[in-house]
């Protein structure tokens, strides 16, 4: 009874109810947690799935991205190459005009030098202009070479010594350069300009990177495989980095980009490398000169050399005529009665001796003159027509008149 009561009491006690409620709540919570758990698992699985899908997509995108990057860089390279080529083509065409003009101007200057060569002041000024123009021409040639253009073609072979001297004339500080040694070889006509330009670039480097006033030497030496042109300077030499850069430019693997040469552009080695590769000679700058500076060596192989003696400049004869034509104005007052009664045979032979002896250089040699007689030759002169005689006498009269005119003007110079 007591137990029942106690049970009743218990059952009716608040504790029991609390337990029941708690139990119910717990069951409910467990059930809900399980449901949630199941839901979360499902969600988790879905997310995993989604993640895998996304990862796959990501990988695909990576691949696509890599492909596009590759394509992009390839296209970019192509565009750059096109742009470079177009730039070079435009530059080449523009520079070709400049090259032509520099050459034309050089000819004009040369003619002026011959024309006014008697006046030391004018000639010195013309030489200064000539010097500036030569450097200008070399620069234009350098740009042309970098743009795949050509230097211009010489018609004749030139001795190795003259090639060295021509190169010397194309740099600013030409008076610091000494050319030593002569060999009996000439450079074939097609290689004359390229070798001169390369040597000029090496000389420009040598003079620019050594103390002002320090001499730069070119030594010409015959070697078993050809001829060496050795340029020695007394500068500070080059560091390993510079040597590597020079070696890379002197043995170019691919076309050289114009934009890679820096500002101001240093294209000496680039030009040298391109020309050496194109014409088949060797340029190296990796040794040390006896003066502690750089020793640059140009090795011309036998294919670019010939034993031919350079023909005398074609201008020589022409300008000789011009000089002679220009002379009478100054020479007219000169005097001697010689022209008045020239023995006929001699006057015909005087300007062009019969069977002219020539010098080793191919120039005509003048013979020692025999004493001029004022006595008219007893031999009968050639038969002339009246018109010819008249015109000759007319010319004689004009000559004496002009002779007298200039005598009064220029006479004192010869007194």
């Amino acid at each position: 009874m007591a137990l029942e009561v106690s049970l009743m009491t218990f059952a009716q006690g608040p504790l029991l109810w609390a337990l029941v409620v708690v139990a119910l709540v717990a069951v409910g919570a467990v059930l809900r947690a399980r449901r949630t758990n199941i839901g979360l698992r499902r969600q988790n699985a879905e997310l995993h799935q989604q993640r895998d899908v996304l990862q796959r997509q990501r990988d695909e995108l990576h691949v696509a991205y890599a492909g596009l990057t590759h394509q992009h860089s390839a296209e970019l390279a192509e565009v750059r190459k096109d742009a470079e080529e177009e730039t070079k083509a435009v530059l080449k065409a523009a520079v070709r005009t400049l090259q032509g003009l520099a050459d034309e101007q050089q000819v004009v200057i040369e003619n002026a030098q011959r024309k006014y060569g008697d006046d030391p002041g004018i000639l010195a000024d013309l030489m200064a202009i000539d010097h500036a123009n030569s450097q200008f021409g070399r620069r234009a040639q350098g740009i042309a070479v970098l743009c795949g253009g050509w230097l211009g073609r010489r018609e004749t072979v030139a001795s190795v010594f003259d090639v060295a001297r021509s190169a010397q004339g194309r740099i600013r500080q030409f008076d610091r350069v000494r050319v030593n040694g002569q060999v009996n070889f000439s450079v074939v006509s097609r290689a004359v300009e390229p070798v001169a330009v390369v040597l000029a670039e090496l000389l420009a480097n040598a003079t620019n990177y050594s103390a002002p006033g320090a001499p730069v030497e070119i030594n010409i030496q015959a070697v078993p495989t050809g001829v060496c042109l050795i340029v020695d300077d007394a500068g500070l030499g080059m560091g390993q980095e510079e040597k590597d850069r020079a070696a890379a430019l002197l043995a170019p693997q691919a076309a050289i980009s114009v934009s890679s040469l820096g500002i101001p552009p240093q294209f000496g080695f680039a030009v040298s490398g391109l020309l050496a590769a194109r014409y088949g000679f060797k340029v190296s700058v990796d040794s040390v000169s006896p003066y502690g500076g750089v020793r640059a060596v140009v090795l011309l192989p036998d294919e670019l050399l010939t034993g031919d003696v350079p023909s005398p400049p074609p201008v020589a004869a022409e300008h000789h005529d011009a000089d002679v034509a220009a002379l009478p104005r100054r020479q007219a007052p000169a005097p001697s009665p010689t022209p008045l009664f020239p023995p006929v045979a001699q006057s015909a032979a005087a300007p062009q001796p019969i069977g002219p002896a020539t010098t080793s250089g191919g120039l005509p040699k003048r013979r020692r003159k025999s004493p001029v007689s004022v006595v008219p030759s007893t031999e009968p002169g050639p038969v002339r027509s009246n018109e010819e005689t008249a015109s000759r006498l007319g010319a004689f009269q004009r000559g004496t008149r002009s002779g007298r005119d200039t005598t009064t003007m220029e006479g004192p110079e010869f007194q």
Partner: protein, 124 residues
């Protein structure tokens, strides 16, 4: 790249005149005028390692007297350049010079007319 055939010819002289003079100052025309006659003194040996121009002058002037203007013409160089090279040779004692002949006296017009007349009679 341009084909070799497209290459332009270069016409300018090859060795510049200021290289031949070595950038030295040019002498005055006083000593060696255009018509001064020069020749290589007899029994002389050319200087060691002469430049091609000096060798050419040596060859040209060994044969007899030649005017400065003619030497320049043969060398294809301006007179001033030839003068400088001749000046060098003269300083080394290799060169003999002969002044230009004095200008002719003014001849009387009457004499010339007589000569002309005589020539007319003889050849005309």
């Amino acid at each position: 790249m341009t084909a070799p055939g497209e290459e332009q010819a270069v016409n300018s002289g090859f060795v510049r005149s200021y290289v031949i003079t070595g950038g030295r100052g040019l002498p005055d025309a006083e000593e060696l005028s255009l018509v001064t006659l020069v020749t290589i003194a007899p029994e002389r040996q050319p200087p060691p390692n002469p430049s091609p121009e000096v060798r050419a002058i040596w060859d040209l002037c060994s044969g007899g007297y030649l005017s400065v203007a003619e030497v320049a013409g043969h060398l294809g160089q301006p007179v001033g350049v030839a003068r400088l090279l001749l000046n060098d040779l003269a300083e080394q004692g290799h060169l003999m010079r002969r002044k230009a002949p004095p200008p002719a006296q003014l001849v009387d017009r009457k004499i010339l007319e007589e000569v002309l007349h005589g020539l007319h009679v003889r050849f005309g």
